[in-house]
């Protein structure tokens, strides 16, 4: 899948499993060493170009543009530099300089990417070469703005695994122990008529009939009514999610909504329902002006409301922008820590994590919670999925994590299309925001604090983020399930999980130790939170990129060594006859078990 937006220096986070599927015949133009096209990928244009590398200076080379990627290879054999950038990563293309500017490389292209880097190219003035390349890039990088299809619909990739089978809502609810006599499954939304941004299968309190759900819908922003996300098998407390109540300036109340929330509380017989409003208090108040608001104390007597102070999508977008300024192309050296602090990126991470910790703690102490923000698809998704990751070890497995993303993010309508702007030229769209990236960063922080608790490794997280933008897979396309259905995403595109699950060993954390019942509480302190340098600073060639973390690498080596010894020992035992084995079994110390015993014990499923 050589696909990924990998700089020459970066450890490609992606091993290439699809290279086998390459159909070289489809390439009409000259073959290029190191370039492996995907099935369905077509070359559009190639040109001599100069890459203005911020680290190495200007590099002459050739650029190839396909319907999937921009590929650059320097002709200079001494420092071979290659760029492999899926066009989906591009957020903005601009011309720089021109006839009026001086200098050799005055006809420039400036490409801003969604993955924390910028690319600059220079072209010769002759033959309108810049115009050609600009036009083609602009068209193929933003296909939706030109009435064309995203590459995911053109890809012909085939995998052993079908990632679309990873998440079956009913199966997942059954795993949680649902439905039961407190919670029921409803098909009220089977053709999205209750809520067009919700999934078709919803779990609601057993005592709430479908008519009530509709009435509650009228009082919740975009009809995103409170529904169950997660059920605690032991204490029966639940995590529910929804959007803000439509209280408005006049402070409206809705008896159905109030009773419905009480039904959620009653389900496990506790006295209080805790409502976590992800927003800062003032934002929640301000939302009243546009018809929204929060649950008032008088109306919801059996509920307590907690504001989690997480800022909105615009604040997060600006924060990431500032972060990019200090890490790309060069790391701000003189006042690194205070610059990092002034981006507030880690502070936002801290707030999201500590919000999720509060949710998890409340639920594990037996109280049901309800989480919402304004619309319930950004901060809400962050909080519910992170707290579920803390509470339920299943979600920390490679498979379970995929289910978590499919469920809390994709099926519940996190607006991936709007937040990422897939194939859309409008780079300044105010709807774009790195909410999902922020969530993955939080997950990474957790894996750092608990190196043995997750089955997947850092590489999986990087690959997920790379394909969040690449448009090679259908997984993160569109805003909600109804849109995905009407565009036949499941039948016409490949799932990212097909790629991942066909090569699970690359994404497996060797230190993983399953612990079924442990609730993970990360420490959300600035003292522990770190900048994820392997993601945010990965384009810098001054950073040595290991294929994996050195410790992980070493552990895998040791595992291999152990297996080698075991094999060797087994061989010796087979060839060796009775004498030596009797000698060994004579061992008196309990610790020094015989080789035989060890062979049976020490085989691990790696």
């Amino acid at each position: 899948m050589a696909s990924a937006p990998i700089a020459p220096y970066s450890s490609s986070p992606l091993g290439n499993s699809s290279s086998q599927h390459t159909s070289r015949e489809s390439l009409k133009m000259e073959p290029l060493a190191g370039f492996v096209s995907l099935p369905g990928e077509e070359r559009i244009i190639d040109k001599d170009i100069i890459y203005m590398c911020p680290f190495n200076g200007a590099l002459k080379g050739k650029v190839f543009i396909t319907n999937y990627r921009l590929y650059f290879k320097s002709t200079d054999t001494e420092t071979p530099v290659t760029l492999n950038v899926p066009l989906g990563v591009i957020s903005r293309i601009e011309k720089m300089g021109g006839a009026t500017s001086r200098g050799e490389n005055s006809y420039g292209l400036d490409i801003t990417c969604k993955d924390m880097r910028n690319l600059r190219f220079a072209l010769k003035q002759e033959g309108h070469s810049r115009r050609d390349i600009f036009d083609i890039l602009f068209k193929y990088a933003f296909p939706l703005s030109h009435g064309m299809q995203l590459f995911a619909f053109l890809s012909q990739e085939k995998y052993e695994e079908n990632g679309w089978n990873v998440y079956e809502p009913m199966e997942e609810f059954r795993r949680q122990g649902l439905p039961n006599n407190e919670w029921r499954v409803t098909f009220i939304n089977k053709s999205y008529e209750l809520c067009d941004t919700y999934p078709t299968i919803l779990v609601v309190p057993y005592k709430a009939p479908d008519e009530d759900l509709r009435r509650v819908g009228t009082f919740r922003s975009r009809c995103r009514i409170p529904v169950l996300s997660w059920f605690h098998k032991q204490n029966h407390a639940v995590i529910t999610r929804c959007s803000q109540p439509l209280v408005g300036m006049s402070g409206k109340r809705n008896k159905d909504d109030e009773r419905y929330l009480d039904l959620i509380r009653e389900a496990n017989g506790t006295t209080k329902l805790t409502i976590y409003d992800a927003r800062p208090n003032v934002n929640a108040v301000a939302n009243k002006a546009t018809g929204g608001g929060y649950e008032g104390e008088d109306a919801y007597q059996n509920a307590e409301l907690v504001f989690l102070d997480i800022h909105n999508i615009h604040v997060m977008r600006e924060s990431l922008k500032k972060l990019k300024d200090i890490v790309y192309p060069n790391v701000e050296e003189s006042h690194w820590l205070s610059s990092l602090e002034s981006t507030h990126w880690l502070e936002h991470i801290k707030l999201v994590l500590s919000g999720a910790i509060q949710v998890a703690d409340k639920v594990s102490s037996g109280y049901s919670v309800m989480v919402h923000c304004s619309d319930g698809w950004d901060r809400t998704a962050q909080l519910t999925s992170l707290s579920m990751l803390m509470l339920d070890s299943y979600y920390r497995t490679l498979r379970g994590f995929q289910v978590l993303l499919e469920k809390e993010w994709i099926s519940f309508g996190h607006k991936f299309a709007s937040r990422i702007g897939h194939g859309d030229k409008n780079h300044a769209d105010q709807d774009r925001s790195p909410i999902f990236l922020q969530f993955i960063d939080c997950v990474w922080q957790m894996t750092k604090q608990f190196p043995t608790a997750f089955e997947f490794n850092e590489r999986l997280l990087v690959v997920i983020l790379d394909h969040l933008y690449s448009c090679r897979f259908g997984t993160f396309l569109y805003n909600c399930e109804s849109a995905r259905d009407s565009n036949d995403v499941r039948t016409k595109t490949v799932s990212l999980w097909s790629l991942i699950n066909s090569d699970t060993s690359s994404y497996t954390n060797p230190f993983y130790t399953p612990e079924s019942s442990r609730v993970l509480y990360p420490v959300a302190s600035m003292r522990h939170l770190e900048l994820w340098v392997n993601y945010y600073i990965r384009w810098n060639p001054r950073i040595q990129h290991q294929q994996q973390s050195p410790v992980e690498q070493r552990y895998k080596e040791l595992l291999a060594l152990r297996d080698q010894y075991l094999k060797k020992l087994e061989e010796l035992q087979l060839t060796d006859s009775a004498p030596s084995s009797t000698h060994l079994t004579n061992s008196s110390t309990p610790n020094a078990a015989t080789p035989n015993q060890h062979i049976t014990h020490l085989q691990t499923p790696f």
Binding site: K350, P541, S588
Partner: protein, 765 residues
């Protein structure tokens, strides 16, 4: 001794057994509490019914017990044990609640009823009865005792005793003298403390010429010789008796040159690069007139000792590095933000506060400077002289860092310890003054050695598999500075050690037998502090020097020192194929490097503001290849890649402890796997040796702290006692004193709840 797994007989067998008979008391039946004393240790003062604050909002977990001040430590003997059974690395010299007096930075007494507090010094008076004693420790702990139920007089006395005994007036009052002196008392010179200083240690102490000879051989420095003119310390008071000089300089010349150097310090050879370039340290000339002449003579001698007759590069450390006061100020600020400031309030500004402490910036400056020196030695092939006014502080750091980066031998445990002996202890780093054991001159106090350990930690953190030791080892080594027992950290130079040991022996009429002076154990005699089992915490299961290339052609080879030596000397000549790991040999890249320079020059101006310096290019070139852990190692110097050494600086902070988490959980798994491999190796060896060795060798020789179990293989989570602070515990070791740093009024308001009947009876408010 608190982990409940007493094994072999240790010196503790000499201690009086803990009394368990129950005494009657008005409130609660209490055990008779006795301090455990070391040989030579005496109780100075004590107070009963003292409460040790364990932390947290409530004081329900606080411990009752007896506070004892000895001539070695502040000991708290708890009546009840800690709320939960917690793991702690058992220390042989200290109990769970003990603090060595040398570790006490400041003793503060408080009377909360009167709103008074006083920092206690030596021989002082205290005009109020303390209700509280707060010990600020040099290792970042803050320990708090309450005297609500203790007699006011005994509380006062014990506080004064602690203050007094933590300010010894004379080096010979440091506990090490009594402790080591005891060994010679009594009968036949049998080692009372089970110490065999120097003997049986694999670490060279560099106090004899043979150690230097071996080092010359090891590094192939054939044009250098051991010089003995300072025997008896007749030439220089701060140089060791043996050191290494160019062969072309005769003893006569050296004696002549000596007077031109600060404290007659003739330039010292540190190390030779495989290319033949030498690393030399030199103090500044006292006489600038003569300076040039003498320096020229020295330089030309160094040039003569270089196989290529290369030039000498002088690196002025005073100009380029922070001075010792800067370093001390940085540590004080770091301590302020790490353990003194209230946790929540300091969260928001944590990163900028960390930056303003400048500690990490200094760490980076030292590392960067060392990289510059490495560039000169490794790429330019010239010898380097480290110039520092006294040549006793910054040079120690830089010289060690250079060797750590270049020489894989220094990354082994014994190599590292030898390095510290060579560049710190023998070269005369003023440990006594820098640790401020006598608390006489605060301006001389500076954590230069801790800064060095932090630099090593950064390297370790970036290349954990390249070092034989762990970060626990580095932390414990740093803590050992505050145990005034070891020859390593007690003195300013070898001569001072010799003199004090002799004088002390004479004044106490100690019969020394064969020894010329008292022999203090070096810190490298780790059995002084830890059981063999606990010492395995120092062994890094990741270390590549050991197992990585052990299996060749299906035969198992054990790793020997020979191998690392071979690899080391081959850094420039291309690696053995087994280690090359598919990368280019260094030869190829050397030529590449040059061509790269020419090619890039013209275009650079367009995208780079500053042209790259040759050393930057050297670094960048190195980073473009996979790192060879047995070869040259350069640290990543981007500020984003240097971090705070959390285990050292934040281990006592309860708020950030990650239960069953932190890097140690991965370490645990590695350790278990490595142990499994060792076990398998032993079994294979038995097949090879046809049953020659007994089967139980594994149990004794295992180098790993966490053992593979022979119970059927199953997945366990990390043991419950593991946390990000492991093997340390914040419980009872950090009590932020609410009173200090908050306005007095606020403190007085809150004080009422602390008032006990006793204080009410004794004080008029």
């Amino acid at each position: 001794m608190f982990s409940g797994k007493q094994t072999k007989p240790t010196f503790k067998s000499y201690l009086p057994p803990l009394q368990t008979d129950v005494k009657r008391s008005p409130q609660l039946p209490i055990k008779k509490l006795e301090a455990k004393l070391l040989p030579g240790e005496i109780v100075v003062n004590e107070a009963n019914f003292v409460k040790k604050c364990i932390g947290g909002e409530t004081c329900q977990d606080d411990l009752w017990g007896k506070l004892v001040c000895t001539n070695f430590k502040v000991s708290f003997i708890a009546h009840n044990s800690l709320p939960q059974q917690r793991f702690q690395c058992a220390h042989r010299l200290l109990g769970e609640h003990d603090v060595p007096l040398a570790c006490v930075e400041q003793a503060v007494t408080v009377n909360d009823a009167k709103g008074k507090q006083k920092v206690l010094g030596s021989n002082q008076k205290l005009k109020f009865n303390p209700t509280e004693l707060i010990l600020y420790c040099k290792d970042f702990r803050i320990i708090r005792f309450r005297f609500d139920e203790a007699g006011p007089e005994s509380a006062k006395k014990v506080c004064l005793a602690i203050a007094h005994y933590s300010h010894p007036a004379d080096p010979q009052l440091l506990f090490g003298f009594e402790y080591v002196g005891k060994r010679y008392h009594g009968s036949t010179g049998e080692r009372v403390n089970g110490v065999d200083p120097g003997g049986g240690l694999q670490t060279p102490l560099f106090d004899c010429s043979s150690d230097w000879d071996r080092e010359i051989k090891r590094t192939g420095a054939s044009e250098w010789r051991v010089c003995t003119i300072n025997q008896g310390y007749f030439i220089s008071p701060s140089l060791p008796e043996f050191f290494v000089v160019p062969v072309s300089l005769a003893d006569q010349d050296l004696k002549q040159y000596a007077c031109y150097f600060n404290s007659q310090r003739i330039p010292l050879w540190c190390w030779n690069h495989p290319s033949g370039s030498a690393l030399v340290r030199m103090s500044n000339n006292s006489d600038p007139q003569q300076q040039r002449k003498v320096e020229q003579r020295i330089s030309s001698a160094i040039t003569k000792s270089h196989p290529l007759r290369s030039d000498v590069f002088k690196s002025d450390l005073d100009k380029n590095l922070p001075n010792i006061q800067d370093i001390q100020a940085a540590l004080l600020k770091l301590r302020q933000i790490c353990v003194i400031e209230p946790f929540e309030e300091s969260e928001e500004k944590w990163l900028s506060s960390l930056e303003s402490s400048r500690w990490i910036e200094y760490v980076r400056t030292f590392l960067r400077h060392a990289v510059e020196v490495v560039y000169m030695l490794d790429s330019r092939h010239v010898s380097v002289i480290l110039l520092e006014k006294e040549d006793r502080d910054l040079s120690c750091v830089i010289s060690c860092l250079v060797q750590l980066m270049c020489d894989p031998h220094c990354r082994s445990l014994h190599g590292f310890q030898g390095l510290i002996q060579k560049e710190w202890v023998m070269a005369g780093h003023r440990f006594l003054d820098r640790c401020n054991h006598l608390k006489k001159n605060d301006r001389e106090e500076s954590p230069v050695f801790l800064l060095f350990l932090d630099c090593v930690w950064q390297l370790w953190n970036q290349y954990p598999a390249a070092f034989e030791f762990t970060e626990v080892y580095l932390t414990v080594l740093g803590d050992s500075m505050w145990l005034p027992i070891f020859s390593t950290f007690l003195f300013n130079c070898p001569r001072q050690r010799a003199e004090h040991s002799r004088d002390f022996a004479i004044s106490k009429s100690i019969h020394l037998g064969q020894d010329q002076a008292l022999r203090f154990p070096p810190v490298w005699d780790w059995s002084q502090q830890f059981s063999l089992k606990d010492q395995t915490l120092f062994n890094n299961p990741l270390y590549v020097g050991k197992i990585a290339t052990c299996v060749q052609n299906g035969t198992v080879k054990t790793f020997t020192h020979r191998r690392s030596k071979k690899n080391y000397s081959s850094t420039l000549r291309g690696l053995p194929s087994a280690l090359r790991n598919g990368s280019f040999s260094h030869h190829d890249t050397l030529t590449r490097r040059n061509s790269l320079v020419l090619r890039l020059r013209p275009d650079l101006s367009q995208t780079r503001e500053q042209p790259e310096s040759p050393s930057e290019r050297f670094v960048r070139d190195w980073f473009s290849r996979p790192a060879d852990l047995q070869g040259l190692l350069l640290p990543q110097l981007l500020p984003s890649h240097l971090s705070l050494w959390k285990l050292y600086f934040l281990r006592w902070v309860p708020e950030i402890q990650i239960p069953q988490g932190g890097p140690v959980t991965a370490f645990h798994k590695l350790s278990v796997l490595t142990d499994e491999i060792e076990m398998l190796q032993n079994q294979l060896r038995q097949y090879k040796g046809a049953g020659g060795t007994p089967n139980n060798t594994h149990v004794e020789h295992s180098k790993m702290y966490f053992k593979a179990t022979s119970t059927p293989h199953q997945s366990h989570g990390p043991p419950e006692y593991l946390s990000s602070s492991f093997p340390f515990s914040p419980v009872g070791n950090l009590c932020r004193p609410g009173i200090l740093g908050t306005p007095l009024r606020k403190f007085l308001n809150g004080a009422k709840i602390w008032l006990s009947t006793e204080t009410l009876a004794n004080e008029t408010i």
